[in-house]
Amino acid sequence: MVSRKDFDSPNEPTWCKGCGNYGILNAIKMALAEQGLAPHQVLMVTGIGCGSKIPQYMKVNGFHTIHGRALPVATGARLANHGMKIMCVHGDGDGYGMGLGHMMHAIRRNIGLVDIIQNNRVYGLTKGQYSPTSDVGMRTPTSPEGAIDRAVPPLGLAIAAGATFVARGYPGELPHLAWLIGQALQHDGYALVDVLQPCVTFNRASAYDFYNPRVYRLQETAHDVTNKTAAWEKAYEWGERIPIGIFYRVEGVPTYESQVPTLKAGPLVRQPLQKLRPEQVHALCTELI
């Protein structure tokens, strides 16, 4: 039996007091324990940002990579060892800004991994520049007159790109977030969990007091998670009411890794690594005659 405590790390998080990342950290631990996944069975690939430091603060295999590139690293890891659970955890600047192209491609491949975005709608680590999901008009060091780029609609894009599992969580609703991550972990294919992560330091306008009165649970409404158009329209609901929960889910779309011929024989790294056999050498050289 795996317990939440198994994921505890001696390293103290360096996040601000009240940062939404604490909740995300807890939710991930809860979900992994719930799913019976031990620290060594999981690889957590992160980008660069406040939130991307997360593998430092829990016990889990981690790869803290470079800004915006968590998904391709994770994809390579998945293809090399699909016997392990792969999670990406990264910020909105990382995932929806620099990494947006990779995300679109990961989605159309339906590569089997859970992609958690710590969407605080600001750049935390570099101290408060506006992000791809910031509100128009937000004044920051790189938008002193107010941002004029309209926000990326991540859930709408994910559904449009063909994602098979699209969800949004909120650390203010911790058990719900843990449940969502658990569902994502159970999903066979690419699973997006966008998390409304309060950044209490650089985005006070989108912190708990903004979200608390607004969020409501989709799964407590009549929302049909298999209706793609309905899900897509829901993805744009934002303002007085902000839905959290599973927006869209379809099972049965084959994952990328399940279709790679070589991987039918099991995870790549568990297949024997040895020199070519003489008959293989012979065949390869004969091809060239």
């Binding site: 620290p39 060594h40 016990k59 803290h64 990579t65 690293v73 790549l268 050289c285 005659i289």
Partner: protein
Amino acid sequence: MTVNNMTIRIGGAAGNGVESSGAGFCQALGRAGLHVFGLPDYYSRIRGGHNFYSIRISDRPLYSHAEPVHLLLALTAETIPRHRDKVVEGGAIVYDLKQVREPPSAVPGVQFLPLPLSDMAKETAGTELARNTVVLGVAAGLTGLDLSPMESVIRQNFGRRGQKVVDGNLAAADAGYKAGQKYAGDFPFKLRRNPSAPPRMVVSGTEAFSLGALAGGCRFVSAYPMTPGSPVLHWMAAHAAQYGVVTKHTEDEIAAICMAIGAAHMGARALVPTSGGGFSLMVEALGLAAMSETPVVIYNAQRPGPSTGLATRNAQADLLFMLYASQDEFPRFLLAPGTHEQCFVAGWRAFNLAEKYQTPALVLSDHYLAVATRTLEMGAFDFDAVQIERGELLSPAELDALDEEYLRYRLTPSGVSPRALPGHPKAVYVAESNEHDPAGALDEEIENRIAMVEKRQSKLIGMVEEMSGPARYGPAEAETTFVCWGSTYGPLREAVDLLNAEQPGRANMLHFSDLWPLPLEPVTAALASARQRIAVEVNATAQLATLLRSQTGIQMDGAILKYDGRPFTPEYILARVRTDRRASKSLPLDR
């Protein structure tokens, strides 16, 4: 009469099948027991333009193409003016009557053979596209080469397209053959099948490298297509299912290197083939591989730039770029194989070096080496010598027995830390792109930073032990020592032979294929003992010369540089040696 010593060149437009028929003819010659050196030359366009394929043929192994052409096969009118000056006395120019409306002006000593190639193709194979088969038949007829090897190649290569196509092409070749025979009497260059020769492989540098990589345990290839790097991806993709390889055509080169890093981190031997423009996009992630100490192999088949440059042409101009790419400093290997045999070895050796030192290994090839084909004996690639050395990789059993905390970045005298692959309960760790402590935890303190920089840099001490100094070709003592790297080996070797044939002791050459880290002792000794040193490089600034001077202080006495997008030829080198003994240009070259 000259037997088995000639160059046949077939020229046409993109879309005329010049490359495939040239390659097929090389195969046929290989099966006929002859040695060939085959080289395509083509434009970065799908249709039109002027493409040609040169096939140099000999009884002895060849290391280079050469400029003189003995038989020019012209599928288009443009082919004749482009190559007529290269045709030797006694040589012949076969051309398609339908394409060449006006009879070309004469070349003294050169026979012109206008033939209705298009019509013959149409009549025999039902399509003018078979002109290339006809014209190769003509070549066989003219040179007296037995047609059966060509027939066997036709059967094999057209087999997939059905018996009708095979038969049509066989008929086309035969018709050409008969036409060629008619003029054979006046054509002094002959080819004789060598029935006692064993069957030989016809191998490109791409194939040699790919074979070596596969033999060395390459199991993951992620790449974005870019000429001339992509053929490695294509080769691997074609062999993936059968040999247990995963290949991924990615969305861009950043994804390619990142996927390879992810796969390598999990334990797969991962390769990223590309060209310079693609490598440019990998520079940030190269640093990630170094900092996280993830072994990964990058293969760069160089082409001329800057930027898109000349997509289908040749250069050796990424040496210093690859040596210093990415912010700050870290150890890396730089290998530049010079021959097809060396390509094979680089293919497997790079993985061992990368894994033993847990750092990136970079292989520099170039367009010339990637596409040129040579006949090699079946045993030319020493598969027995291949080793799969994974360095300090902890086995599951070793990890089971571990009784202390596993430290991914443990400080060791060698700088190499025993590596555990993710997945073992005793070795749960974080690989880091930030500076970190031995356990992988973020650490910005001064002492730790110094220790970690020195840990990484100190790998160089072991790494340099793995490296060889330059290989000398030619006499130990020579008037001039040419200094080169990578694919310039072949043409320069022939140039050295030619110079020494004229005047014994005139020249030798030092060929660098282990470029970094440089083993200073043998390098300095080799350079210091030379009387006159001339760098020979396919770039405008003499990059190897710059590197050598930066490390040894030794300056070249001159440089023969070529930056026209084409590889050296032996003749070009000789001409430069003759016109300019000091062989340097007036440009600010050493910058």
